[in-house]
Amino acid sequence: MTSPENAAITAEVIRDHGLTQDEYQRILKWLGRTPTLTELGIFSVMWSEHCSYKSSRVHLKRLPTRSKLVVQGPGENAGIIDIGDGWTCAFKIESHNHPSFIEPFQGATTGVGGILRDIFTMGARPVAVMDSLRFGPVTKEPGDSGRWQTDQATIHKNHSIVDGVVGGVASYGNCFGVPNLGGETKFEPCYNGNPLVNAFALGLVKREKIFYAKAAGAGNPVIYVGSKTGRDGIHGATMASEEFSEGSEAKRPNVQVGDPFMEKLLLEACVEAMETGAVIGIQDMGAAGLTCSTCEMGGRGAVGLEIELDKVPQRETGMTPYEIMLSESQERMLLVAEKGREEEVFAVFRKWGLDAVEIGQVIPENKMRVREHGNVVAEIPNEALTDDAPLYHRPVEPWVSPVAKEVPDGIKFGTKKDLTGEFHALLASPNICSKRWVYEQYDSMVQTNTMQGPGGEAGVIRIKGSQRGLAMALDGNGRWCYLEPKLGAMHAVAEAARNVACTGARPVAATNCLNFGNPEKPPIMGQFSAVIDGLTEACIALETPITGGNVSFYNETLGEGIYPTPVLGIVGLLDDTSKAVGSHFKAPGKAIVLLNENRKKHIDEAQVEFGSSEYALHILGAMWGAPPKLSLGAEKVLHQALRQLAAEELVESAKDCSDGGIAAALAEKGFAHNIGVDVDFASSGLPLECVLFGENPTRVLVSCDAGHVSRIQQVATNFGLAARQIGTTIPGNFQVRVDGNPALRAEVSALKESWATALDRALHSDVKAAAV
């Protein structure tokens, strides 16, 4: 698509740019003339789904975005909340799904790079990243039948995607020098052709030092800083707004290449330049590159930016205006400085060995004007590209779960009295096993603030020079959203917030990454709309407004979409980091108390809900039913209770029961220090499987000194919650009885072996087998 500037704008050219005829008519109306090819390219990226949110905006408006703590909601490069002591934190999650399938390593690196720039463009120094990764299966599974067949070749392809994505995330974050505090890694056949790479970053900035991506002051210079512009990533945003087909891998040239060293220099230089006071506004060049930063910065300030392309630093010769405007070369920023103080900015960038070039100036008209050799090659009103981009009320059809509610024939519960063998297999299943193979490749300790890194409930960092700290967690459950989108979305919020609350922190704000199929299909929009409803309800109830995020549609290959997968990032405040609670048992001889909602489940309800569990999928090889019910009221008070228990220093550990149920949570709590449990549950008439492996929400296991149990029960009662002592921690042995009968018996070290080595084995065994 590098045809000459004066190329005729034919129907084919318009279609190749992903624009509809209606959209083209709209362009003609805005301009009052035929666009140049460069202008058409600019419209096509700015009006792409990825940049314009044209299908999602009408729904996103329903999300709660405000609270007393929110300093900046959606609409800027990142959301910002007040965290006390004059500090604020900027954070956001963003997807880089499409590039990560086509070129896993570079797709993932540039995903991390992009989100880091979103943070430091606000003046905030990034202090933590996390990521939520979803892949197709990396091993043969019993549940692998029906709609999604995963053959051996696909499994191998998935291995290489996992290896590339994890390596890419590691390479970028490690070099940049920001600790990775974990996140989630999940495997499900629906992600075979569409892996999800959602990167979250968080940074700190003093309230009075926040920067915005807003231009002001006609005559002020527009300065380009960072890497030179090349031909990489042209139309990346448009690619991310299409489904994959057979030829998608030929789009590899559309994927950008990341250079974390350059980004590190850019961070240091930008922060230092901001300190000079000469910078008025700044925005990174991410999706849609120079185009997006030029029209958005102007638009936000109700002014315009005029730039001369001859001055843009270029990596290659002979680049056309079209290519320069649409390039998505990484590690570039655009800033507006105060006239007369340019030299202060240039000096900083010189010190760090980076390009900083004045390429234009702010103009009073609210439009972007692009020149080449002095001639205007594009002139477009800012609002045509931003606020007045097309907006679609796509047809919505309610999503009906294609999965039966009833327990399938042939599945019988409670036939076995001892499930130790199944438990080993469950702990080794891909979604439950240790993700050490992944997170040991990430530097989780740089900056020396990490109090809880990967492998726990939430990441926790301290803030140097303050008592305060931050807890953060990412969660999502695509399978639950597939079965019931609204309820699944509510669970994602509840679980992320619960994980944060387990540390003793108060969950205060959220960011979301919404991964979906093709929005032009009404049932997909049905999923989307229901998910927004669920997020809205849960975020209001849990007082965690959404401050930003992103939407990724068209996660489909050959017409088959992914599960609707909203991923929630929740940030919580810790007033006193010395009281932060970890998730692991620390010693034998402690009481184990289960905090949960005071409600009994009927056997039919429990069995319907069990069909969406990891046990059903990986051990029974089936999926049915609906996600567990969720009471947001109970969830809210559980978080409050956890905070009080932490503040009173009553508990030594806290962990929620999610994937794999209470049995998996008990085992995982003991692996770090080889501590076992002696526990007895009452079945209350439910089958053994549901008691041990059911995935009811709103449950947290805490361990404590025996003397604290009654006080813990008192606190729980005050909040209307149940708190029952179910047993004690013991050295080295795992003994779980149900109604007094032994159900799980093993040495902790044996369980740990199953859990700790599974992913490593899955990722390497097949390769060896194939080589033979």
Binding site: G167, A170, S171, N174, C175, F176, G177, D259, P260, F261, M262, K264, L265, W352, G353, Y439, E440, Q441, Y442, D443, S444, M445, V446, Q447, T448, T450, M451, R462, K464, T577, S578
Partner: protein
């Protein structure tokens, strides 16, 4: 008497502020940053070459950093007995600069590894270990892609004979085993010193294990030794 610590900043250093924080805030010592492009050591008593990716680690880790003006000054400083401590990327830079023998190759598993490891103190005859006990085991984290120390047989023998291996990877109980070796380093070497014993290079990060908030505090033992080494003179 307090010592003045200088922490070098190369473009791409990312543990510079961590080392600075440890000496300045945790140990309450005078500390300053040293810019790569300058050859002024600002009268520091000890120079820290911090972790990170100096000059992007392009070409080879440490290969470009060795040519920086500051490293020229560090070489002179070390030749007169000045104390130099290289951590992680700093160790790689010291090897490339010829201040320490050997080379740090890519980890045996070819991947970056970040995790706590155990190291055994092999010699207490240095400013970095004088207050430790020989055979003592410390828990200190690593975070690197190229930590696989290698040198030829003659050099290894010399390091051993001269008691210049200060730390080796071991089990928590202090046994040197292949399983305890995270990166494939020859002879489980985690840290060595120069012939004059005033230059240390080590892959593990003591500054990441220097406060209770970080969950590990054994690094304090090493940094404390350096901070109090002035009393040795």
């Amino acid at each position: 008497m307090a010592m003045k610590f200088g922490v070098i900043i190369f473009p791409g250093s990312n543990c510079d502020h961590d080392a600075y924080w440890a000496f300045k805030e945790v140990f309450q010592q005078p500390a300053t940053f040293l810019w790569h492009d300058s050859s002024d050591l600002q009268g520091c008593d000890a120079v820290i070459v911090p972790g990170g990716f100096a000059y992007g680690d392009y070409l080879r880790t440490g290969a470009i950093a060795r040519f920086s003006p500051i490293m020229e000054a560090v070489r002179k400083f070390a030749s007169t007995g000045g104390l130099v401590m290289g951590i992680c990327n700093g160790f790689q830079i010291l090897c490339e600069s010829g201040l320490l023998p050997g080379v740090l190759m890519r980890n045996k598993n070819l991947k970056y590894i970040c995790k706590p490891v155990h190291i055994r103190v092999e010699s207490t005859d240095s400013p970095f270990t004088h207050s430790l006990r020989r055979g003592e085991v410390l828990e200190v984290p690593i975070g690197h892609m190229e930590g696989n120390y290698y040198c030829d047989e003659a050099t290894l023998q010399q390091l051993q004979k001269q008691d210049r291996i200060l730390f080796r990877y071991s089990t928590p109980e202090g046994t040197i085993t292949p399983e305890a070796n995270p990166n494939g380093a020859i002879d489980n070497i985690a840290g060595i010193c120069s012939e004059g014993r005033n230059v240390l290079g080590m892959m593990p990060h003591p500054e990441r294990a220097s406060e209770t908030a970080l969950g590990m505090t054994d690094g304090v033992r090493i940094l404390q030794a350096l901070v109090t080494s002035g009393t040795l003179k």
